[in-house]
């Protein structure tokens, strides 16, 4: 199943600025406690961690659990230094790996 993510920030950041990043990952985050309409327990499937790298270095990581709402949303900050790729990767209980990346372009 193809997983999507969305990564947003306001444009116009300069080197040295602290940029607010919004990350939304499309994932059901099944807790393993709920049942479907026929009464069968839905198998637990949550994202185990989400890692964010900026210019090849890890700037943010979150260890997630079933306590995080479906379609996990995170807002965090990173210190802009160079124009570089922001790469997001994650893995879920089913072993499905997700990846998404977007270029953070700084203003001169």
């Amino acid at each position: 199943m193809a997983m999507n993510a969305r990564l947003t920030w306001s444009t116009g950041a300069r080197a040295g600025d602290v940029v607010k990043v919004r990350l939304l990952v499309q994932h059901p985050m099944e807790t393993g406690y709920l049942q479907d309409l026929s009464g069968h327990t839905i198998k637990r499937n949550v994202i185990q961690w989400i890692r964010v790298q900026y210019d090849q270095r890890e700037v943010f990581k979150v260890d997630t659990s079933s306590g995080i709402a479906a379609n996990p949303f995170f807002e965090f900050y990173l210190r802009a230094s160079v124009t570089g790729l922001v790469q997001v990767s994650w893995i879920d209980d089913a072993g499905v790996v997700g990846e998404y990346s977007r270029l953070l372009a700084l203003q001169a």
Binding site: V18, V19, M29, T31, Y33, L34, Q35, D36, L37, S38, G39, T41, Y54, R57, E58, V59, F60, K61, V62, D63, T64, S65, S66, G67, I68, A69, A70, P72, F73, F74, E75, F76, Y77, L78, R79
Partner: protein
């Protein structure tokens, strides 16, 4: 001879009754029961047991520097927004390394653990959590010097996240 026959029939009747009782107990267990421990509220000590490296250092555990903001009343526990801000320069000398979000009632104690560092620039995170009923939420921050700070918030949840969809 007569005596022995009576004893046998008593025994078999007892065995039958016991067997029937066992069968009844088995049948009364619903096949779709889900084991869940969200009924009880954890104490602060129990909550902090889930935090790696804390090891009960309550003498270094202060309610300061962390600001946990969340709604007082959540209509639906499936998605409750919250924000955690920690007062820190996020410099090489002094920065926040981890932020934990702990739940008092959820079946899973540690809802999330954030790994931050100097590259973060600002120790603030915002997310949406699932809550299994009204409870206290703890936001715990660890500095690079091994200090621990926290803030707590009480939230009333009208509809728990752990209810059946069917």
């Amino acid at each position: 001879m007569q005596q022995q026959v009576i004893e046998l029939s008593v025994l078999s009747r007892r065995a039958l009754l016991l067997g029937g009782a066992a069968l009844g107990a088995f049948a009364s267990t619903p096949s779709h029961a889900v084991v869940m421990s969200s009924g009880s509220l954890r104490t602060l000590v129990e909550m902090m047991e889930g935090v790696e490296g804390f090891n009960g250092h309550f003498e270094q555990f202060k309610k300061a520097r962390v600001d946990l903001q969340m709604t007082l009343l959540a209509d639906n526990g499936n998605s409750v927004p919250l924000s955690v801000e920690v007062n820190s320069a996020m410099s090489e000398e002094e920065h926040i390394t981890d932020i934990y979000l702990l739940s008092q009632r959820n079946p899973v104690l540690v809802m999330a653990r954030f790994h931050l560092g100097v590259a973060s620039g600002k120790a603030m995170v915002n997310t949406r959590v699932r809550l299994a009923g009204s409870q206290k939420i703890l936001a715990v921050a660890r500095t690079n010097q091994g200090e621990w700070f926290f803030d707590e918030a009480q939230v009333v949840v009208t509809e728990s996240a752990c209810v059946d969809a069917s």
